[in-house]
């Protein structure tokens, strides 16, 4: 389930960065037009992927419930952490992006 949490976390981070305001705040530069769209796509894809993995690991019912739970936890951590430790969270998002799929692959 940890892999699901990590991938969902990365997904929310991407969706957040896909917003002009947050992109600029976090990376200190203006986003290119394609970049926002890319981030938005990636964000949704990552969320969908994490949901799929959750359902695969735990069945559709438990999987859905647990996916919602870890997603809420992850995005809350992101939003409340961002004003205080933006770089740490960005780093965590990147690590999640790598570690999440890795753990999922190992769990199969």
């Amino acid at each position: 389930m940890l892999s699901v949490a990590l991938i969902a976390f990365a997904g929310f981070a991407a969706l957040c960065m896909a917003m002009d305001r947050h992109f600029s705040e976090l990376l200190g530069r203006k986003p290119g037009s394609g970049q926002l769209r890319l981030l938005r796509c990636a964000g949704w894809l990552l969320l969908a992927l994490s949901l799929a993995i959750a359902m695969h690991l735990r069945g559709w019912a438990h999987g859905l419930v647990e996916w919602i739970a870890v997603s809420m936890a992850g995005v809350t951590l992101w939003v409340f952490g961002m004003p205080y430790q933006p770089r740490l969270l960005l780093g965590l998002a990147v690590i999640s992006l790598v570690l999440g799929p890795l753990l999922a692959a190992l769990a199969r």
Binding site: I68, M72, A73, T76
Partner: protein
């Protein structure tokens, strides 16, 4: 109400939020604690020792005890120990004693002997309070369920009112006074919205048979009996035959159940007419095994011959839906990490309400900042905010202090623990009336910080099962409670510092989750 839909909904959100906010805060806080009610009970009754689970052995011990001590009773109930409840609990009804004749004894799961345990409601107090509000039946349930409806209304009107719900989805700006409070309120509301909606709606479903009985009246001719028979199935139990026949070993019946559902944990066993030819034994699967209650996971045996008679009828899809909704609320299926998330989200819901109450007053206080005194109605809100939030936290701490300080043999000590809860709450109310607002907050939060932070020490001194012992012994429930109490104390100390230090209300406050974290306990990590 003539100003437009959104404004009307904002008005509705604000006023229903205020009127029911204090009750909802109490319901959410005690409900959140209830997710760890077994662990809280473990802390409040430390005399019950935990052992490795062995259902077969436990059944044998329970049967032996009941045959020796309750052979005359018409009905026995055995609650098997599980990962979160250490005791093997047996109960029966003394014949001819009416409604109050129930006897319940916790047995040590290893020895089968009754445990000398201090009388305490433990976690069950908070659990029952959150849906009965210490009011006589059925008024408490009605009020609590109506509050749940108002919570749902608050969520929906909040969503309608929050114009920038998508734009500000990831927005939280601390250090900006009222703006930060609003950001925080919105963020904890929106980010955890699935949980809040689930909790509120499911509360309605739990008591829907009581608060919305029209369908039952219309379909079942005004009687709920037919409805409940259709829903749960009636356990047909024959009358006692007055012909003695020894009860088969319950362990043998357990083995038969395990053949049907290998590996499934059983919740409780009921024995009807023990020692009689018409004895019946029913096994009910543990609620932890699935999200929804499963009436099909019950088995009825002939107690004299050991033959499997019936299994509960399969549930329809509609039943599964309804029971799943209820099951999601209860969270009985949740393992350790998910249970902690339930707790955290419960705190989040409590914080949504708390921040709302603080903001309601804060916004209006600004208008009267130049005056010396707040106008009467605002002062009332201020007092209720303080008593309802920090006062409630003090009351919770008071319950646990009473649990450790009241002597074991004190008559009615369980009731006195509850009385302590309400007495402390009352004193907090009086204090809030007598002291100026900010000072009252600061003093109560500071006292709360001490009360919670010192709980582990109090525990260690009075029971010898403090952190130095529980951490080493791997008693995670006990250690988790103490550690959470400590954490709560630290949080309250930080909050108290904020209130006692800064002079004016435009102080920098980063409202992560203002004043709702409370102590609880960690589940045994296995």
């Amino acid at each position: 109400m003539k100003e437009g839909f959104r404004q009307a909904m904002a008005w509705l959100h604000t006023w229903t939020g205020l009127i029911f906010g204090w009750l909802l805060f109490a319901i959410f806080l005690t409900g959140t604690l209830s997710y760890f009610k077994d662990e809280i009970s473990h802390w409040t009754q430390p005399e019950v020792r935990r052992h490795a689970l062995d259902p077969v052995a436990s059944l044998g011990l329970a049967q032996r005890y009941l045959e020796a001590n309750a052979g005359h009773a018409e009905r026995w109930m055995i609650r098997l120990p599980n990962a979160r409840e250490a005791a093997l609990e047996v109960s029966w009804r003394e014949p001819g004693s009416g409604r109050r004749g129930g006897v319940s004894k916790p047995l040590d799961a290893h020895t089968g002997q009754p445990v000398e345990v201090r009388d305490s409601r433990g976690g069950e107090f908070f659990y029952r309070f959150h849906f009965q509000l210490q009011m006589p039946h059925p008024w408490g349930r009605w009020l609590a369920t109506f509050c749940a409806f108002i919570m749902l209304l608050g969520l929906v009107t909040g969503i309608i009112t929050h114009k920038k719900i998508f734009k500000e989805f990831f927005t939280f700006r601390p250090g900006k006074g009222q703006r930060s409070w609003l950001d925080g309120h919105n963020a904890i509301g929106v980010l955890v919205l699935p949980f809040h909606l689930m909790i509120s709606y499911s509360s309605l479903v739990i008591f829907m048979y009581m608060v919305m009985p029209a369908s039952i009246m219309a379909s079942y001719g005004g009687s709920t009996e037919g409805y409940f028979n259709d829903l749960f199935g009636r356990e047909e139990v024959p009358k006692v035959a007055n012909a003695a026949a020894p009860l088969v070993p319950l362990a043998s019946l357990y083995a038969q159940v395990q053949q049907q559902v290998p590996g499934a944990a059983m919740g409780y066993v009921q024995v009807y007419n023990p020692g009689d030819r018409n004895a019946r034994v029913s096994f009910t699967q543990s609620v932890a095994e699935s999200i929804a209650y499963q009436r099909s996971a019950t088995w009825m045996f002939d107690g004299a011959t050991g033959q499997l008679l019936t299994q509960g009828a399969p549930e329809s899809a509609t039943m599964m839906t309804a029971f799943s909704v209820v099951g999601l609320h209860m969270g009985n299926f949740a393992g350790p990490w998910l249970r902690w998330l339930y707790f955290v989200f419960g705190i989040a819901g409590t914080a949504v309400i708390g921040t709302g109450l603080v903001m309601w007053l804060g916004k209006r206080q600004l208008k009267h900042a130049k005056r010396e005194r707040l106008p009467g109605e605002l002062r009332l809100v201020e007092v209720l905010n303080i008593a309802g939030m920090s006062g409630l936290l003090l009351a919770v701490a008071g319950f646990f202090w009473a649990n450790r300080l009241l002597p074991m043999a004190w008559p009615g000590r369980a009731d006195w623990e509850v009385n302590s809860f309400f007495l402390v709450w009352l004193v907090a109310l009086v204090h809030a009336v007598l002291r100026p607002g900010r000072k009252a907050w600061g003093e109560q939060l500071a006292l709360g910080a001490l009360a919670f932070a010192l709980l582990p020490l109090l525990n260690g001194l009075t029971t010898g099962q403090g952190l130095n012992h529980s951490l080493v012994a791997g008693d995670w429930a006990m250690a988790g409670f103490d550690l959470t109490a400590l954490g709560t104390g630290l949080f309250l100390a930080w909050a108290a510092g904020k209130m006692l230090r800064a002079p004016k209300s435009v102080a920098k406050r980063a409202p992560r989750a203002p004043r709702a974290t409370v102590d609880s306990t960690e589940v045994s990590g296995c």
